[in-house]
């Protein structure tokens, strides 16, 4: 079911225009422009310290770029607060795991349902009635996601002592629970072996495509997330999954194109891939 790669026709979902971000002396992003389109998985690659994570951080409002603008569905969100960005439909995972370590897997995902819930102090404190029903409603969605990602065995475990790979999956679950329009993944497969990478790759593809009637009550799984941004250092994964790739180096965009184009771009090879990747 691979999508045809005709990027020009896909509508732009998020548009980054001339972003510049610096910290004191370090320029993390310099005049970077990227269009993130609907119906595509966009990969961002580049050497360590190139500014990939910074780009995501700008996208969801964690960093405020000094110059340039970010248009999300036409609205400028370059100075938005992170929680607002989440409400607008931007969810992400983190390269160094950032879970709520004192909560269980289930609660981590439920925490992300926060934005959809209507409880207030009063109904929450009384619990019985509206809050209870709401909890159950959202619990269903979360259980669907847990089921989808196959993490039921750790559903009620506090996440702090789970193995690395498991925690990465829980991060994904939490991001899905936010039912985002755009999913941002920062190195979701780091520290996994090939088999586990296959799992995650499968999840990403499934999320992208949607699961239809397997999960009729959970829109995010049923309809899929049609815009995914992926940062990853495993070229096998990137080349297979991405519809389009943007390459950053020292804060600048040095290339953009289909996996085929990128694989053979001499600039990218010398800055990032190295000769070994070509074989």
């Amino acid at each position: 079911m691979a999508q045809p790669i005709i990027s020009a026709e896909k509508p732009v979902k998020v548009s980054l225009r001339n972003l510049t971000l610096s910290f004191g002396g370090i320029t993390a992003l310099k005049d970077v422009s990227v269009d993130i389109r609907e119906n595509e998985i966009l990969a961002i690659i580049g050497p360590n310290g190139a500014g990939k994570t910074c780009l995501l951080n700008c996208l969801n409002g964690f960093y405020k770029p000094q110059k340039g603008e970010i248009l999300f569905e036409g609205r400028n969100i370059s100075r938005i607060r992170p929680d607002k960005a989440a409400r607008m439909g931007l969810a992400r995972t983190f390269q160094n795991i950032e879970l709520f370590s004192g909560l269980t897997t289930l609660e981590n995902a439920m925490a992300a349902r926060h934005v959809f819930m209507k409880q207030n102090l009063l109904t929450g404190a009384l619990y019985f009635g509206p809050a209870h029903n709401e909890e159950i409603r959202h619990r269903r969605v979360v259980e669907d996601i847990i089921d989808f990602l196959e993490i039921e065995p750790v559903r009620n475990k506090t996440v702090a002592s789970l193995p690395y790979g498991m925690r990465k999956r829980i991060e994904l679950a939490r991001a899905l629970a936010l039912e985002p329009k755009v999913l941002l993944l920062d190195e979701p497969m780091a520290g996994m072996n090939t088999e586990e990478k296959e799992d995650i790759a499968r999840f990403i593809v499934d999320i992208f495509e949607g699961q239809g009637e397997s999960y009729p009550d959970t829109p995010v799984l049923r309809d899929g997330i049609r815009t995914i941004v992926l940062i990853e250092h495993d070229m096998g994964v990137v080349m297979d999954l991405a519809d389009r790739i943007v390459v950053l180096d020292f804060g600048r965009k040095i290339a953009e194109g289909t996996p085929e184009e990128i694989k053979n771009n001499p600039l990218v090879i010398s800055a990032y891939l190295g000769q070994s990747a070509k074989k």
Partner: protein, 351 residues
Amino acid sequence: MALPCGTRNFSYAADMAIFRTKTQWALLLIGLAVLFTAPLWLSFYWLGVVNLIGITIIAATGLNLLTGYCGQLSVGHAGFIAVGAFTSAVLTAKLDLPFLVTLPAAGLLAGLIGIIFGVASLRVKGFYLAISTIAAQIIILWVINHLDNITGGFMGMAVPRAEIFGFTFKTPQSLFFLIMTVAVMVVFFAKNLARTRIGRAFVAIRDNDLAAEVMGINLFRYKLLAFFLGCFLAGVAGSLTAHWVTYVSAEQFSITESILYVGMIIIGGAGTTLGPVLGAIIIRLLQQGVTYVSPILESTFFGNLPSGFTAGLGPFLFGLVIVLFLVLEPRGLAHRWNLFKASYRLWPFSY
């Protein structure tokens, strides 16, 4: 008897209930029955102690929401209790307002002042925040001390007894019912808040505030909400204190008391509903122990003890208990209790 080996649930509602087995419900009912018949079999003295514990549980539960759940360390809790106490005192004594108005008013004012000082928490954490809350307490007490026209200044002021629909809460027994009703309600509300949307947001902020924000939780609103709730309950406890002691002066609300509250939630188990309850009971009973033991030791071993031994015994024991608890059970008694429950539930297979 059927052991609850691996209690399993078949619906989300059942899975989310606090009390899941018949035994648990029975224990709850028995517990409540024992609690509310206490005035029949407890002496004045023990009622006094239990009343104090009840008030303490209310304030400690507030601190637990703020510190245990939301992770905002406050070492100025007694300052907010003072706000509640004086609010209630002034409103009843000077304006003749009914207790049913002054009690929530005390909570509200304490909560609002809590929000003001809580604004600092948006930028700092941990020890910085701890000190700013100490500062809050010192400033609050200074203001109370100098609003002499309203609060009686250094002298403090007398407080009338609480009155609801013409009934005056005067005897330790009637106060017991008043205080315990509020305490049970507060614990129940806190438990519910903790396990629903707001509580999860609090814990998310405690465990990883950056990620929480990225997940759509408004830090500004929720940190302030935590301060409001924590201080609101402090205010409620303050109001009850005022009508229980019947005299308030700023001196009664010391930094030491604030520190004790922190000790309570740590010993009991921060971030659990049971924690502040256990902590309040232990610390208050320990204080009573010291009240008793030191004079007894002094008279029993007259002359055989180094002079000053008893004077130092109180703080020494106190510190020792806090330290021992932390070293031996750093996650608090509630944690131990949960382990115990878990192993009981799966008995006889401990793993």
